[in-house]
Point group: C2
């Protein structure tokens, strides 16, 4: 730790924010608070208590002494070694463990967090924030390193690309899980240069719906996903987190059906039958159906209303009514999707996973389905329903006409145009893609990064004003900061602010990138400038996320990871889907005016459409296999290094066992005079006759006895030299093509 | 080893057959023979030399003493442990290693074989049969256990299913690689009960081309492949070969581009750039093209000739000419495919793989492509070219008519029928499938199992007759057996026979099963009795293979494996392909007479065909994901056992490090009186005032100093008890909903 952070954070490792319950539960709250302090002390953590806000306490925590921490670190390293995360067995010199292999900040935080949160049986304090008996523990978090945060914010905005060192620093500060997100975003951003440049050229030279763009874009998607999979592995080696996902932490909420005793280990095993879980997982099918129906219905309805109002309806209040579908959409979709997410959460909980990893994975796959539907349904409708079939379908929107009857001034306005006169808006699809590529990204950035600052500042201002007003009116509410020791005043004020911040959720950031990748792979052929826009957006995104991480959220608890997790399969799926949609879009809309089939579906030959989709998909799959094979064959410095290390470890063991694989001829049997140069001299004294006599004697003395015959078999030639000679004798007897050898005898 | 085998095989572990070169190279042959005997002796192997056939020697080998073998075994076990094959670190008591964990026969053979064949740097004799300086070493093989072989042959023919114990015995005798083949065949056979029964019902009730059969069959294929993948893993646990594929033996033939020194390990590294290999692998594309063109051309030509002669041509010599295409096919296809296999071998060699595994994998994938084309092209042509398009295409066969002109008697016979009068043979497809399902299997069995016996017996008889005739004519050629000691006569005769047998190649048996699986998954919808036929065939196949293994081939060198290898991906691919072809066949031929579209292609709607293929394929892929997930979630006894063992090992390490995860509270810091029940009494003497005084004193004495403030921060509450009390005091100051608490103060 640097001197500066020591000064600013008072050596505090972690802060626990304890919220006192309302008056009626005060007794219970006090008891639980006592338990908290004791549990922390028993785990070997020193505590200092200060006031938080009006009804909360801040418990500052640090390791009581470095020896206890060293012990925890040592245990964790042994565990890592047993799971194959470490190559080298940790030294048994526990006392010097922290100096011989110093901890990064993130590692230190991780260990302290582990001490606070892991179950008592495993030597931790067993605090589970917001859960069970510890529901009053509002948050357990480390303190921001404001110096470093500032440095990041100013440095990153001056750079186009983050260097590997920057990523390392992120990893050292907030842990591998978030560092993986940064590394992904960084790779994605760098990779985007190519489609951005190519997309721009296509836009200038080839226009929209270019088959060339579609092919290059599909290829790019495959290469990127496969490259990232490789990159993940290399980062895992670089950050020493390979196989970390095999260390599975038990979920606290896991409810076993029964507790059995393992017959081999004698350990208690919490058992939940896989079959039962599988049955529960089957509920995912109705959930998915509900998502499709629920969200689909809302989006389709709003879509139909929108088309009707903007393109068919020509009555009064059109300028106002045109906003109706957007309003409906922005109200209904988040409501529905929150409801579904809640439902998905409950289902995932009900599925009762044993490990946190499995739980998260199951949850993420559900979230992906929901997001997939909310994100892509609208553009899918435009591409594959509105544009080809609008002239057929729009007349049926007539039913909707009924609802606006009251607003109509004369009969004429209400009449929907006949299919012959109605023309679809040929730019609708492109405009929609531009919306998703530009507008939605800007709005999203504003909602995600700028809004929270504004809200936070606003709330702060409001609170200040309120207390000022209260002071004016004479009611001098004593501030919680009044009792702070003067030298801690600034520090405590900062901690109170940090405690009030929300948690940083890296999953939502990853989700956002995945959805973006989906637009790129599936629909960017509509408007080839899409990658250009995303390229710019992602530069901003990374800086915005850094701002969020450093300023708008509490410092996250560092977590290890060796991958971006289930999102990787989402990326693979979206790239695959892209090969289908791109081919369909290109077939339907390319050629001529680039406006597509203009609502005359008979112009689309279904067989040609299906054939192009079929071919495109299978070419995609073959190319993917090729790219995957090619990338897997390439070697890298990190992998070579890892192999060398593993080799060293193995060699050490083999050498320790006296079996090093260096040249070490096995001792020759004592009775064979191997060291003599030719071996011939060694048995010069033994004449052939004497040997044969001996053999004959043996054979007569024990002939016929079963056991003896084995011994005799092996004693005919008593050493390697005798074998050799016997063999040479036999060779002499052979007929090797010419009769010369025989005659010589 | 049992008493019986000791008696019958004279304790011989291995036999090396050394072929003397022709007379002109005799000197070199003698020198190399001497080298052989010395190399074996240096490795710690005892040798006995006997005559083989006319120009070969048999070198009998056994471990010189059990200590040397124990050393080899220990080294191998350490290696296994380092690669994660073993959970438990092998004990350091090398002397008792063979009694504490006895070797199976296959393991003993594997170790001895390793001693004979592994490079000198690794402590072996470095014999490489048929390669390099050891090209005179014709074979290195263990001896058959005839008692066990007989037992197998008689037992297996009496059983319907092999038990797991039978598989274990196979594994213990001939090693895991062959045992995996037996296990696969066994699983496949047992699984086939269902499609056989279902197929029979379909044949009775629904007829050919039933969509229901196609769906069930596709589902069965997915379930079988996924089940086998799981089964493989369980067998790997049962046979302690998990991760064995990570132990990569260097290929002797690997030619590095340069030899560098690893900067980390100081080890010499043989380096061959992956990029260069990738470039060489690109040659696989022309190879594949050559396969398609070469084999495709032959098969298509023969196919066209056959159709012309059997269905169009009506001239003279028809009864003879009808065999022409078959003769052409049986002559040309094996020639071409041997040529291509040779080419593939050369290419694989040129690709220069570092490990034997990678080499085999690359070779197998090429062999699969060649076999795929030779096996499926004909039936593919009938399904998708002949039946739908024959009436259009057959007139073009007219060109062929020219070639038979000389045989024609009158003009009429030569005229090809007009498209209107030509009718395709509606049973052709079914008959072809019946051929592949029944006839081809019988022929194959005869070629593979019965032919070699006949040939061997014939050759033996011929030789006997020859020598008898020679004797009659007075030329008394001395037999090599004349000098055999009488008690060894039978044994040596047996060994000479075994030495003359070919090697057993498990790959070709696996290939055969894969190709059969392909017919089942892709084309069995044509004739639902196919699985019934295969079910019967596979029962015979397993017994035939046992016969081949036990009688017709040398005993194989046991090899370890943890999978059936690359064939697994072939199975996956064929199951996938099946989802496409089955859908197409069902769409084209189901309904009505079950004879298909009868050469009227306009009846096939291309869009409907493509749509059914598209849907079928994607349903297949979704179902595969579901089945895979479901199977991966199921637990088994073997896996539980493995987890328990791993857990035990880990616990042992943690306990050894004094960090067992049993309840063991970390020592509390010495200055905190934790042991007192409530903690309250402990600091009863410290009044609140005195504490605060102290704090105030400290803060005045060092106020403002940076360093001191940290210490002061942590000393405000000197123990957990003080923290607790300070916290309780703060809680008293809180406004928790009601004003009661405040007023009480």
């Amino acid at each position: 730790m640097s001197h500066k952070t020591l000064q600013s954070n008072f050596d505090v490792d972690y802060v626990i924010s304890y919220r006192m319950p309302k008056d009626e539960d005060k007794e219970a709250g006090v008891t639980q608070f006592r338990k908290l302090i004791r549990a922390l002390a028993e785990t070997g953590l020193t505590t200092e208590v200060r006031r938080g806000d009006e009804t909360s306490l801040l418990v500052f925590v640090k390791a009581a002494d470095e020896k206890i921490l060293a012990d925890v670190v040592h245990r964790s390293r042994i565990k890592d070694w047993l799971h194959g995360v470490r190559q080298v067995q940790p030294s048994k010199d526990v006392a010097n463990i922290l100096t011989s292999e110093p901890l990064t900040e993130a590692e230190r935080h991780r260990h302290i967090h582990h001490m606070i949160c892991c179950p008592r049986e495993e030597g931790g304090a067993g605090i589970t924030p917001k859960h069970g008996e510890w529901k009053n523990v509002e948050a357990v978090f480390p303190l921001h390193d404001h110096v470093k945060n500032k440095k990041w914010l100013s440095e990153f905005t001056r750079k186009t690309f983050l260097t590997p060192d920057d990523l390392d620093e992120i990893r050292n500060t907030v842990g591998e899980k978030i560092a993986y997100y940064y590394a992904f975003l960084q790779s994605y951003f760098s990779f985007m240069i190519f489609p951005a440049a190519f997309g721009f050229s296509c836009w200038v030279l080839l226009g929209n719906y270019s088959p060339i763009y579609a092919i290059v874009n599909g290829l790019w998607c495959v290469v990127f996903v496969e490259y990232w999979k490789r990159q993940e592995k290399e980062l895992a080696i670089r950050w020493n987190v390979k196989n970390v996902s095999t260390i599975e932490d038990k979920r606290r909420e896991f409810a076993p059906e029964k507790v059995t005793t393992d017959p081999v280990t004698g350990e208690q095993v919490w058992f939940f039958p896989a079959k039962k879980r599988l049955q529960r997982q089957l509920l995912q099918i109705p959930l998915a159906a509900l998502c499709v129906v629920g969200l689909g219905a809302i989006i389709c309805t709003c879509y139909a209303i929108e088309i009707f109002i903007s393109e068919v309806y020509d009555g009064p209040l059109k300028s106002i009514l045109v906003f109706l579908p957007t309003i409906l959409l922005t109200l209904a979709v988040p409501t529905m999707s929150n409801f579904l997410t809640g439902f998905a959460e409950k289902l995932t909980f009900y599925e009762n996973y044993e490990t946190q990893d499995a739980h998260d994975k199951a949850m993420i796959s559900k979230v992906f389905v929901i997001n997939f539907i909310t994100s892509y349904t609208a553009i899918f409708l435009t591409s594959f329903v509105y544009v080809p079939f609008a002239t057929i379908l729009v007349p049926y929107l007539d039913i909707l006409g009924m609802t606006v009857k009251p607003f109509a001034e004369n009969e004429k306005q209400l009449q929907t145009p006949s299919p012959a006169t109605f023309t679809i808006n040929p730019n609708r699809l492109r405009n929609q893609m531009i919306y998703f590529a530009v507008t939605a990204q800007v709005v999203n950035f504003a909602m995600e990064t700028i809004m929270p600052v504004v809200t936070q500042r606003g709330t702060k201002k409001f609170k200040e004003m309120q207390s000022q007003r209260a002071e004016k009116h004479g009611g001098t509410t004593p501030s919680v900061a009044d009792n702070d020791p003067p030298e801690e005043k600034d520090f405590l004020a900062r901690v109170r602010e940090e405690a009030a911040l929300p948690e940083y959720d890296v999953t939502s950031d990853l989700r956002e990138m995945c959805i973006q990748f989906g637009y790129l792979s599936c629909f960017s052929v509509i408007w080839p400038l899409t990658p250009v826009s995303y390229f710019i957006n992602n530069w901003v995104e990374l800086r915005g996320d850094t701002f969020k991480l450093a300023v708008e959220c509490r410092r996250p608890n560092p977590a290890r990871a060796d991958s971006i997790g289930p999102w990787l399969s989402s990326l693979e799926f979206l790239a695959w889907l892209g090969s289908i949609t791109s081919a369909a879009l290109v077939y339907m809309f390319s050629g001529g005016d680039g406006h597509g089939p203009d609502g005359r579906p008979h112009q689309i030959k279904l067989w040609a459409l299906l054939l192009s989709v079929f071919l495109s998909e299978h070419i995609f799959l073959v190319v993917r296999v090729l790219v995957r094979t090619a990338i897997s064959k390439l070697d890298s410095a990190a992998m070579r290094k890892e192999r060398s290390e593993r080799f060293m470890v193995r060699r050490k063991y083999l050498e320790d066992a006296g079996l090093g694989h260096a040249v070490k001829p096995i001792a020759s049997p004592p009775n064979s005079p191997l060291k003599t140069e030719s071996g011939e001299q060694a048995f010069a004294s033994l004449t052939r006759e004497s040997l044969e006599d001996e053999a004959r004697n043996q054979s007569t003395s024990t002939s016929g006895a079963g056991e003896g015959s084995v011994e005799r078999f092996w004693l005919r030639q008593r050493s390697w030299a005798e074998s050799e000679r016997a063999g040479l004798g036999m060779i002499e007897l052979m007929d090797l093509g010419t009769k010369e050898a025989k005659k010589a005898q």
